[in-house]
Symmetry: C3
Subunit: 155 residues, 3 copies
């Protein structure tokens, strides 16, 4: 029997990616008490990096919001792994930390990170509403456009 969140994902036509395995001495998530700390996720799709470039130069705000959504799907894959596969154990999305690789003077980081924030609420409803920061940066790993980390509370 699929869980309620799995049913929501199916209704939304969202297939979560495989949770990427650890690549080094840092790992994709840790659990402390009932909090899951998810490492900064970048726009990997099927093991391939995507969205390499700067927002405001190589990508529009809309494209960057799509990139943020891809990062958020990778966050959800890690949270699902942390929950032993059962996303119904999510109590709330506590916080997102959003970094946008952008040109100087770019000021629409909130609209970019909304691509991730909106996904959380689509999937979890009010449990998906979260605190966050959305800031710019001059450089990200592999020159990706967006990196997002997260804290979730689970039961």
């Amino acid at each position: 029997m699929a869980g309620q969140i799995d049913a929501t994902l199916e209704k939304l036509g969202i297939i979560l990616p495989e949770a990427a395995a650890p690549a080094a001495n840092y790992i994709p998530y840790t659990v402390s008490g009932n909090l899951v700390y998810v490492s900064g996720q970048v726009p990997f799709v099927d093991g391939q990096i995507t969205y390499q470039g700067k927002v405001g130069q190589d990508f529009t705000v809309e494209e960057a919001a799509d990139c943020a959504r891809v990062c958020a799907l990778n966050i959800l894959a890690q949270v699902k792994a942390a929950c032993g596969g059962d996303l119904d154990r999510v109590v709330q999305c506590v916080k997102l930390g959003g970094f946008v690789n952008c040109v100087d003077g770019f000021g629409q980081q909130p609209t970019v990170i909304n691509g991730a924030s909106d996904l959380m609420v689509e999937v979890f409803g009010d449990k998906g509403r979260h605190a966050r920061f959305a800031v710019g940066t001059n450089a990200l790993p592999l020159n990706v456009a967006v990196e997002i980390d997260a804290i979730f509370e689970i039961s």
Copy 2:
């Protein structure tokens, strides 16, 4: 009967702003256990954005520290809302995360963010002492000079 922290605020001549309402699917704060996670706050004053520009170019270090203080006032407004209006429930300011929109090579982020750190200790005394990071960035939302997020422990 006003609380002790409200009395301190009055003595300091500090009137907290209204806590800004959620603008999107992210919200100004979340509560998990006894921790309040406050979203990144920018220098809104009476609903108007202020301090738009780069530190080391458009603003001096002193002006930027004032900007950090304005961000911190907005943090306190959110913490007050999270406490149901009673700031005496604050156990400690656990952490501030400070981002300074600055020119390359600028190195006085700590002095800028002291504008927020100092306010916390003025208001809460030793309970206001906190861990923090203070870093630079090439771009912030709406081109503001400073963005600060926070974690508070409440009872």
Copy 3:
């Protein structure tokens, strides 16, 4: 009788620095519940700042990873202080937040921050594995190359 982690440090030839004292109204760490929040650490060695410059211009990736290791040693010094001197109380390294002062387009922040991540696992074994973000920035305090903050769980 030395603790197990102290013995590991000795075997690795690692002498932890003195935990730097608070320099302002922010402090080097706070403890909330069983979590230690460590302030952003920069490459101080014996009270002197080191590694001042930009990665990809003034420092190679390898040099920057050494800088990250120095930051991580300062983190461990603060965690030891938070544990009352007994690092055996560390349950896990929960999260590192890594900022790399780098030129535009630099994309090897993960390799840089591995200098810190690797140290955690050398010292704590599996308890040292952590979530993290690794991002770029155009400017850091005192123009250092790397700043890292941390969350640890202790018993």
